[in-house]
Each structure stands twice: as structure tokens, then as C-alpha cells.
Symmetry: C2
């Protein structure tokens, strides 16, 4: 089970040499794929897709059948934890995720149950086990969680938000309530991710999707410190291999230095950051992952090739030989033609031989 | 008319010494003020408020009656230009701005009329003249425009957007169409801002509200280059005084170096950027403006004071004596208690004496 046929994704994250640049795509199992839409129609709705082991396993594997991807990522939602804590996650068409219950007061926070991920989120662990078995060692499986800050915004707002009104009111007016919530969530995420690792996840990504909404000092206090706590609490080795941890704060390109201090193995970058500059900043202390604007895939084959080559030139400009995983800077959108995603993946492998071959 | 009683805002933007830190607030004339809501109710709707000289003048002056602000800013909307180009701006309650017509093809772009700001947007120029007269030289008046990129996103999407789907499809699939649109808008903005300067605007801010949605290379090609063209085309002196230009790209904290190259006098920063780091980067080559998270004003008096002091400590950490204008990092929200905004303004003046007095 621990013998991987293709381990270049794990190797690159850990700074070990690779023959070509590993690549995967955030949201690679998603609506842009007709086979995904078909399985989702079978499942009925998005949450049923997540909660059914066979369906979750099937959609996780779909993009691997089409593309030469170097990693699979567990198909699930970032809001499984708040759902398991009793908030009642549901999806309204075109409106994104919503919660029946919100968390707005110290009493709300105090009343949150302690998560037992193995039982409360057994459907996630079942999916991890099933996917690992189905993969048969072809590529590693990434487990993931939302960051405490990102989960908290949804729990406080009751869904997505543009301005994070209630979350920021709590942050500036009652910071101790928000800290209590974040602390509870950090413990929950540790339990959740360790359960994923034990079930078979071979790398972990923490999605801090809304970290970029914070001011620079508040990012450290309300998001980064809790991710650091999580990293310190995770099982870092399993089945005789290190479990690399990727931290991805969307909009966090100005904060690489404090991010490195958390002990993460790799940092995800969005497209606002110059990969060449980021490589100079981190100086090999962590690996980097990213960062093509997913909208690039709306362009022609030659537009995509040119953009991917420029990204790889940035990644290896200073003679680096590893420490880089190609990816989009955020999730692939539903409007991308699947053939264009193939150009992205193949160009990464073909062109990176120039630097690594 | 050119004698200003308080010119510290202009002086700080131009790097001249000041006795205390000048301060204003983005969206200082806005819904958080009960007197604004009253005038708006009188006007009927938001566009009537913008288009009526007396009402626009009245709401511009309202925050100056409450707070010791060092600048007034023309009350208007950033979407006046597309409206004047025939797109039919309207507002749906709670939904933000919308256009009846969108721009999606080369034909749509070619059919756009040439703007004659003095006649097509005479209501803006009338407001500028009336406000200048009403101010009586108390403080300078800021004129403004949206950036070509930001205006283009609204024109292409037909309103606000989360993912800029159609704009980015045009950018990556038909970049020449987008460049034609941006070029037309840059010419329009030059005409519009020069008309504001001639009517009496004493400083200019270009709002690149959505520049941060761009990848780093595309920011240069599709937003910054057009702002640079505008800056080169603006009347930089009027009534015997220099007209300082402030460029504000929300989410642009990683791109200060190329921004400086545009010839802007000052750069606006949002709260994601450390002001201390930004001061080190720009080394006095441009002034900086910003950058308190507007949500800080949800906090207590002491929370606000502490945050303002930390911001000023950052601004003057390296012995600087000018080149800084205090502001929020984005517009003040409708949920702020007006008394809290007063604490922000007064703390800036009081505490900065420590460095400048």
C-alpha cells in the first residue's frame, strides 16, 4: 500500500529531486467535467455526492483518467466540520453554501460540541480509504481541510460573504469570542486531518480561502496562529513516509515570511504573486505550489502553453531543481473546456524537462 | 480661490513637510451618516443624488461638518463614464450597480461613442464647481475616476462580479478586443479627469478597485499600462498648483514597484499591506495613503486608537516626516457608528504630532 508508482508530488513538496514538475489542479474533480456532472446528477445533490463513498471515490478518480495528474485530492467540501458540529449545511442553487444555524455569540461558541472526526465524519474517512484502495498506488492522495479562520467566516456569516460584516464585527468588538471559536475549530481540524492521515491521506492541504480578507496583523493573530497550531498537532509521518503539509492562503502573497515560520512544507500561491519573486523570498525553505490564473484556460492552446512556460521559467529561474508543484492559483472554473486543462497538464510535464530532465 | 486654509493633504502627497498627518476616509460621504441617508431619501435614489448639483454638494460637505477632515472628495459614482457612453446605469436594491447594455464583442467596442466629458458629464463638472465654491478654500477637493480595467469589468459583466468570467474570457481569448476597450476608456478617463481639474478638482484619485483580480503580468498589461497612459495625459498643474495623482489598486500591495514607474504621486494601500514594509519599498519616491481595515471602526474607542497608533508608528518608523496620508484601506461601511469615525480622524491628528510636531 505504501509503494507509490509516482511519488514526484511528495518528493517536490519535500525538496527531493524530481524528473519532471508534478502537477494537479485545485477542484480538478468538478463541474467542468461532463462525467462529473453525470455522477452528480445520479447522486441528486452536492452533499449526497460528498457523503456517498462510491460517488466520492468515482469523482475523485475521474480527472486522473483524463489527465496525467501527479496527485489525487479527496472529493469533499471544506464545510464538513461545521456541518458535523450541527450547523446544518445546505446548498441553494447559484447561491453557494449556507448554514441553518449561525455562530454569533460566546454562548453559541460554548455550545459547540467537541468533534470526533472518526465517527462524526466517518463518510470522509470511508471515502479516503476507498480512494486509496482504488488508486492502487498510482499517485498520492491529498487530504484537506478549511482553515479555522475560513470555517469561522462561514459559520458566523451563515454562508459566503463579500464583506465579512459579522465576522469582522466579532473580531474587532469581541476578539475573545472569535478566538474561542477559532481555538475550537483548530482542535477540530487537527482531529479531522489526523483521522484522514490514518485513513490514508498522504499529503495535506489547508485551504485558507478567506485569509486574504484580513489586515496584515490580524492575519497573523486570527488565521496564521491557528494554522500553526494545527501543523504542530498533525501526525507528520505515516506508513513510513513523511506527510507534507501545504498551506494555501488565497490573497496571502505578502505574508510568505510569517507563513514559513509555521512549519508548513509548502505554500500555495495565487496568481497575484510572481512565482520568481516568491522563490527568491523563500530561498528553498519551503516548496511552492501554484499559480496560474484558472481563467488562462479560457484562452487558446498557444495562450495556455505560453503562460505555463512563463510560470515554469519563473519557478526554475534561479537554478532550482525541485521544491515546486505546478497548479492553478485557485479552483478550475466550470466554464473551462476539459481539452484546455489537458494542455495545461501536458505542457507542465513536457516543458519542465528543460530544467529537470 | 486658490488660497487654501488647510493644504496639508496636498503637501503630504507631494512630499512637502506637514504639521500633522492629513486624513480623509474613502466613501466619507456615505450611508453610515444619518444626514446622508436623509438627503438621499430626499433625492429619491442614488443616481438622482449624484446628478443633482445641490444634493451632490450637500452630501460632499456633510462629513466635513462632523470631522476635522483634511480633504473633501467629489460625491459621485465610479460608473458615470460607462453611463455616459450609453450603457444605462441603474441600481437594484441590495444588488449593486447594473448596466442595461453590456460590452462583449469587437463590434460593441467599436460602437462606443467618443466621450465629451464637459457636456456628457456636465452634472459632474457642475458639482465640482459648486463644491469648490462652497468649500471656500477650507480644504482641497479630490476628483476621481475608476480605472479603465475596473470600468471595463462592469461594462463586460453588466454589473459587479465575483469571478469576472466574461472579462477574463475576453482577456485570455480575445485580448485585442479588451485592449481596444481599455484604450477607449483610458482616453475617456483622461478627458473626464482633465475636465474635473479645470472645474476645480485639486487632486485626483484613480480607483482601480478590481485590479487585484488580475494575475501579476496581466495587471501590468491590462490595468497599470492604461493608468500610466492616463497619468501622462493629465493636466498636472492648475491655478498655479501641482495636481497630485493618487493611484489605488485594491489588492495591489505586491506591485508597488511597477506602480511607482507610472509617475503617480501617491499610492493607496489596502489593509493587507504592512505600511512599514511599503514605506521601506518606496523609499520616499511616492507618498502612501491608507490603510486601516474599515472594519476596525466596529471596535471600541480603545481598539480604534490602538490600531491608528500602530498605523502611524508604521508610517513614520524610519524617521519619515511627510509623504503619508491617513485613510482607511477601502470605503467606510454603512454599519459604522459615526462617533467611531471621529475617533479615527482625531487620533490621526493627535498622535501624529509625536512624529511631526
Amino acid at each position: 500500500m505504501t509503494n507509490l508508482k509516482n511519488d514526484r508530488f511528495l518528493r517536490a513538496l519535500l525538496g527531493e529531486t524530481v524528473d519532471t514538475t508534478p502537477v494537479w489542479m485545485m477542484r480538478q474533480a468538478g463541474r467542468y467535467l461532463p462525467e462529473y456532472r453525470a455522477t452528480r446528477a445520479q447522486a441528486g445533490d452536492f452533499l449526497s455526492l460528498c457523503k456517498n463513498t462510491d460517488f466520492a471515490c468515482e469523482v475523485t478518480l475521474q480527472p486522473l483518467r483524463r489527465y496525467a495528474l501527479d496527485a489525487a485530492i479527496l472529493f469533499s467540501d471544506i464545510l464538513t466540520i461545521p456541518d458535523a458540529l450541527g450547523l446544518g449545511l445546505y446548498f441553494e442553487t447559484g447561491e453557494g453554501p449556507k448554514f441553518k444555524k449561525t455562530i454569533r455569540t460566546a454562548q453559541d461558541v460554548a455550545a459547540l460540541p467537541k468533534l470526533n472526526a472518526k465517527s462524526d465524519l466517518d463518510y470522509v474517512m470511508n471515502a479516503v480509504t476507498a480512494i486509496r484502495s482504488a488508486l492502487g498506488g498510482a499517485v498520492p492522495l491529498i487530504g484537506f481541510s478549511g482553515s479555522p479562520w475560513t470555517l469561522a467566516t462561514y459559520m458566523i456569516e451563515g454562508g459566503s460573504s463579500k464583506d465579512f460584516r459579522f465576522t469582522k464585527q466579532m473580531m474587532y468588538a469581541e476578539p475573545e469570542v472569535l478566538h474561542a471559536l477559532l481555538s475550537h475549530l483548530a482542535d477540530s481540524v487537527i482531529d479531522y486531518l489526523n483521522a484522514q492521515i490514518e485513513a490514508g491521506a498522504q499529503a495535506i492541504q489547508i485551504f485558507d480561502s478567506w485569509g486574504g480578507a484580513l489586515a496584515h496583523r490580524e492575519y497573523q493573530a486570527f488565521s496564521l496562529n491557528y494554522m500553526q497550531k494545527i501543523i504542530a498537532g498533525l501526525k507528520r509521518e505515516h506508513e513510513g513516509r513523511k506527510i507534507p503539509i501545504i498551506m494555501f492562503t488565497k490573497g496571502g502573497g505578502q505574508w510568505l515570511e510569517p507563513m514559513i515560520a509555521t512549519g508548513a512544507d509548502a505554500l500555495g500561491l495565487d496568481w497575484a504573486t510572481s512565482l520568481a519573486d516568491a522563490r527568491q523570498t523563500v530561498q528553498g525553505r519551503v516548496a511552492l505550489q501554484g499559480n496560474l490564473d484558472p481563467a488562462t484556460l479560457y484562452g487558446s492552446a498557444s495562450t495556455i502553453e505560453t503562460a505555463v512556460k512563463a510560470m515554469l521559467d519563473d519557478a526554475y529561474r534561479h537554478g532550482e531543481k525541485t521544491g515546486y508543484v505546478a497548479n492553478l492559483g485557485h479552483g478550475i472554473t466550470q466554464w473551462v473546456d476539459p481539452e484546455r486543462a489537458k494542455i495545461f497538464v501536458d505542457t507542465v510535464h513536457d516543458y519542465s524537462a528543460k530544467y529537470l530532465g
